[in-house]
């Protein structure tokens, strides 16, 4: 399996080029919330996507019937297809999509529900259900791009994007499609989502310093910064890619999925099941732990979560090699994309391999001793070849999803 196209709409930019430039420069995408009046909330910061015009990617009429999550998914899907140089011709029966999300059409639900409470059922809109259900981003990607192969949506909270990629790989490998678009989308910078996330005490409240708020592994971290956006990859078999003379970004070698079965919102503290997912990702890809030279970590910047993941990585590669394994959490820059996180981060991991550079964990001033023991790529990007990399995602509910990517051999 190979990755042949990348599409991203993120707080760091629209399109992979802009996003990648910002990531290498170590820029933060965080700021005060502008999507709604957040003055009544304890957390008033987020990583928003600025300058996104849905009409650049879909006609105005279709865009009006889509939640922002679907608009961004279609945009990322279109960018990914263009990047892959792929034209969907004929009936599109051999191309499908798995587009994940954490929460679906959040803003549309809140608007329609408010209208229902205020004005009653007779004034309900016929799109109030289809605009907010979680599968509709996948549906719109299929409709807008003419994909008629297997088209599904997988939801695993903050791990959704990686599980979507895994399901898409399975669809190609079982012969149900030649090409799959896979990734995730989220547009949850809304009053209810922000109030709900804040109530779980997962969000940073560093309102006076948005750009310094997401600080994975730093002693001063106090939670994550919510982000919106979409990240989509084009996946196909190596043979199919070669036959059409495609440019190959990297190989998609393996995937791993496991569950903590431990707690609603906290990770299992030994990291054992995160480790199991990383091991499975390597095993399905025919790789060994010593091959790993970069981990794009889940690293959300929560006090409880960050040390568990570092411990799992150390267990994976062994104490001797761990200090040489480079780790960064790009959530320090683009925030926590939730359903889009796996899409964002697997796109950035693929670029790290192709471009030979590792984007940093910014705001890492004072390393929390509980997070030590690996080679943190702190504050500045690091140049140098990356051959095998993991992209980790772990979700509320205990869902673990890991993708293993590798440089194209001989390429």
């Amino acid at each position: 399996m190979v990755v042949t196209g990348l599409g991203i709409v993120s707080p760091l930019g629209i399109g992979w080029e802009e996003t990648w430039r910002a990531a290498l420069a170590g820029r933060s995408g965080a700021g005060a919330i502008t999507r709604f009046d957040a003055s009544g909330l304890a957390c008033r910061i987020a990583c928003e996507v600025h300058g996104f015009e849905p009409e650049d990617f879909v006609d105005r009429r279709s865009a009006r019937r889509m939640d922002r999550a679907s608009q961004m998914a279609v945009a990322a899907g279109r960018l990914a297809l263009d990047d892959a140089g792929l034209a969907i011709t004929g009936d599109g029966a051999r191309a499908g999509a798995v587009i994940a999300t954490g929460n679906g059409g959040s803003e549309s639900f809140e608007e329609n529900h408010r209208a229902l409470l205020e004005r009653g059922a007779e004034r309900s809109s016929p799109v109030m259900v289809p605009i907010m259900i979680v599968n509709m981003s996948a549906g719109h990607v299929s409709m807008q791009l003419g994909l008629r192969g297997p088209t599904t949506c997988v939801v695993t909270a903050c791990a959704s994007g990686n599980h979507a990629i895994a399901d898409a790989v399975a669809a190609v490998q079982r012969g149900a499609a030649d090409v799959m678009l896979a990734g995730g989308t989220e547009a949850g910078v809304t009053p209810f989502c922000m109030a709900g996330l804040d109530a779980t005490r997962a969000l940073s409240r560093r309102n006076d310093d948005p750009e310094g708020a997401s600080r994975p592994y730093d002693s001063g971290r106090d939670g994550f910064v919510a982000a919106e956006g979409a990240g989509v990859l084009v996946l196909e078999s190596l043979e199919h890619a070669r036959d059409r003379g495609a440019q190959i970004v990297c190989e998609l070698r393996g995937y791993g999925a496991s569950a903590d079965a431990y707690h609603l919102t906290d990770p299992e503290p030994s990291g054992r099941w995160q480790l199991a997912a990383m091991r499975q990702a390597l095993a399905t890809g025919g790789l060994a732990a010593e091959d790993v030279d970069y981990v794009n970590a889940h690293g959300t910047s929560t006090p409880a979560g960050d040390p568990v993941e570092v411990s799992a990585i150390r267990q994976l590669v062994g104490e001797e090699r761990a200090p040489a394994v480079r780790v960064s959490s790009t959530k320090s820059m683009h925030g926590h994309g939730m359903g889009a996180a796996g899409g964002f981060e697997t796109v950035l991991t693929a670029l790290a391999i192709r471009e030979g550079a590792i984007p940093p964990t910014i705001n890492l001033g004072e390393l929390d001793p509980a997070c030590a023991g690996v080679d943190h790529v702190a504050n500045e990007a690091r140049r140098g070849p990356v051959r095998v990399a993991l992209s980790n995602s772990f979700g509320f509910g205990g869902h673990n999803g890991v993708i293993a990517l590798a440089a194209m051999e001989g390429g």
Binding site: T151, G254, T284
Partner: protein
Amino acid sequence: MTGAASNGGGGRARVAVTGIGVVSPLGIGREEMWRSASEGRSGAGLITLFDASDSPVRIACEAHGFDPSDFMDRRVARRMDRYAQFAVAAARMALADSGLAVDRDGEGIGAIIGNGGSGTISREEQHRVMLERGPDRVSPFAIPLSVANMGAGQVSMELGLRGPVTAVCTACAAGTDAIGTAVEAIRRGDARAMLAGGADSLISRYFVAGFDAMRVLSHRNDDPAGAARPFDRDRDGFLVGEAGAVLVLEPLEDARARGADVICEVAGYGASADAYHITDPDPSGVPQARAVSAAIQDAGLSPDQVDHVNAHGGASKPGDPAEVRVLQLALGEEAAARVTVSATKSMHGHCMGATGALEAAITALALREGVVPPTINLHEVDPACVGVDHVANASRRADMRAAMSTSFGLGGHNSALVLTRAEDGDRS
């Protein structure tokens, strides 16, 4: 336990269904539900889950008599939306039915629980709290209660499953896609057993108003039991149902080795997309037929070997005839005319993200018992829906080897499963 390791040997694993668990408008548990379905009972009634007195639609198919504390700790249940409680209850019953032991680690046993509308009851309640009393009054459980992955997450936590755990969400096709995806996980060797199905509880103010605004719901408020009438001339839409349905899937070889009672096999899965319209199916039927054909091909069968279809049958004016056309396209007109078709939604309503799983469970039991459950309320077949053998109003004995369950979801998701009868030696 990796795909790479187990697929090296060539032939892929056959997948057995060894357990069924359901919470449904037709009853709680496999036996009660099957009795109602085979007797042609309706699960419809007036809405009691919210005050629907000012709603134009006041009927639905509710899962009456469901008490979460029969299946989980009361404290734990309070942190779950009703749909997640259904998922846990159905999964627990399915696991008990299968006799499969989950060891202390639960490694290699996963769960895929489909869902359509997330935890909408909790989400509506918490959003209302926020609007009326302010953001600082929102519960710390508001998000975990309302997201679509928590059915799967709670099943994993309650039963100790630590293999792949996800929610496949394709609207009305979610339960079917969840089972298909789990079958693939077993074939690839990613798991040694999977609990797969769906759970949804959308009998809420928001969803009933929203579906009604789409003009897809029946308005026959004075005759709830006669309201869901797929393929009938006088149909006027569906009834919202709620359910949780879970199957235990494992490699046939493993099921044999542990002497499990094999209910049936899941032999094929197919999926496609319409890429046509947000709510309407592609009227040509071509993309839907492709999913049906893919499932039959995946099962290694020819179209004329399909004996029975548990149809989607959403009782919509354009949808039902389109579905008959899909079967004619996929099976050929001759084979389609012989195939027995039932839309069990006439009894349990449209259980959304759970419906494909509930219908797969009914199809599995139909194969097992040699009985085709009926489409009730089918008094006069719409001339636009002729062309298949409708099993109207009363169940029918039949010697079946292969049966399908088809689902078509809002957004253009099409999926189909082919189930085959267990070999005599596998049944106990």
